[in-house]
Symmetry: C2
Amino acid sequence: MPGEFDLIQRFLACFPRARVPVGPGDDCAVLAPSRGALCVTTDAVVEDVHFTRATFSAADIGHKALAVNLSDLAAMGATPRWFVCALALPRDFPARELSAMGRGMAALAKAHRIMLVGGNFTSAREVSVTLTVTGELSHAPLTRAGARPGDLLYVSGTLGDARLGLQHLQAGVRRGAAVKRQRRPEPRIALGKLAARFASAGMDVSDGLAQDLGHLCAASRVGVELELERLPLSPAVRAALGPEGALRGGEDYELLLAVPPSRMQAFERACARAGQEVTRMGVLTRERTLRIRDAGGHLLTPPAGFDHFTRTGRQIRPDD
Amino acid sequence: MPGEFDLIQRFLACFPRARVPVGPGDDCAVLAPSRGALCVTTDAVVEDVHFTRATFSAADIGHKALAVNLSDLAAMGATPRWFVCALALPRDFPARELSAMGRGMAALAKAHRIMLVGGNFTSAREVSVTLTVTGELSHAPLTRAGARPGDLLYVSGTLGDARLGLQHLQAGVRRGAAVKRQRRPEPRIALGKLAARFASAGMDVSDGLAQDLGHLCAASRVGVELELERLPLSPAVRAALGPEGALRGGEDYELLLAVPPSRMQAFERACARAGQEVTRMGVLTRERTLRIRDAGGHLLTPPAGFDHFTRTGRQIRPDD
């Protein structure tokens, strides 16, 4: 296996040279001060927790590691700026796989105009990719805490596809739209920037709608009444998981948005103009509970989301 | 084991509340724009690569993870500002150990006034702690690239202690100054800020003096003539490793500085006033080779440094 320095060069070669005062290769990168406030988040993908090397290509891993981080920037309405990449790789990790990982990451970085400015390599027993990404704000951040009772609840795209894709991969199916959603989530950067002009609160859906909705409601001190039949589902997810499976979802990387009724029309029009798909699926309530109604108007018991540690997750009552 | 959210709370409770527009708990932290340029670096400590759980307490791991990152800020002459912490922990990692790790990290964070603004938890087979830290510059950054032939070469503190400490730990010795240097390196933040006013180039010594000196020389396109008997060694290191062992060192986390002759006196005086120990140990040369002379004036073959991947490291000839 080549030395650490060769690996670094091989990985960096996938990315354009960062246009910053000091780029990769010194003790730190140096970046010009930002004009707006800076959003920062860190997230990792770990072998056998977030992916397996049997079902993800190295390019998939590179893409997904950056996508899950960009999704957090999207959730704040931020414009991506720069990121650093900490790689932990087994000693026998093939150098050509490292290049593939770099290319998978670089393609997504290019699409969202975010610069790699630094990183770190270490050996480890399992593959893990830990990124820290930043974005700049030209407006107030879209936090989880600003929603009010009466605000309308939206979600982008469709839910449950990534979960279905995981089931497909586990069953040996390696192709199809659901598998692509699992391997190559697309962060909703453009929608986040648009939504920041209208929404009172927002977050990305990474742990499953039910669980993440609980977080938004807790932060905003509101409850929610969700209409199950309004959940946006692809035909495949409707058939395989149904709305209740999609609620548990996980790894959707869609945006969950609360919009005041007074801005509803303008928001929906702006989304339509921008080609952004959003679906209204409920309303926030003063009573701090999560109520889910099925098509017949019956109240359902909210399911738990996914929690890496307990597997059973925690209950999603916002007033817990 | 408690859920992910309880773990996050337990870890965060060790740190003071970050005074930023949006702190931990939302999709991103939000930070006010910096006045000066921002330095950023990311570094990880991984179980069985950088520490073992048998020889490091959780508090040691927390301290060291932050220290190795702060050392990179010190090397740029930056003032620490904020950091994010990505933790990967086995499912059976005890919650009380997590608190201990947080306390170890928080004590060092407090000493250097750096704020924890966000983080991430994931499960993994082995413990790893990946931090991204930033610092602000009120002056030009101290890079590796600014040294000129004729500049004098300095190093802070003493060399080889951390390596000796590792040998002690491997031999079952759990106490003493060398072991402390291995477990609890002290980043040279104050010296870095002082040195930025005088030095033409600087970096931290993390891979061993010989190897890191090669990096500085390569970046500055200079060579070096090093006087072996001038290396600052503790009596224990002199006895156990000698200067040649200290050259290979590793994990010293001291600062390597190049200072133009015209600023030598002012630099040494400023260090003395500030209580910062630095030792002049060589001079940079136009000829791009690393020459090491022993006390008798004989030329030695430069040893290789430490490389996580190849173990044998790469040759340290700046003109490679």
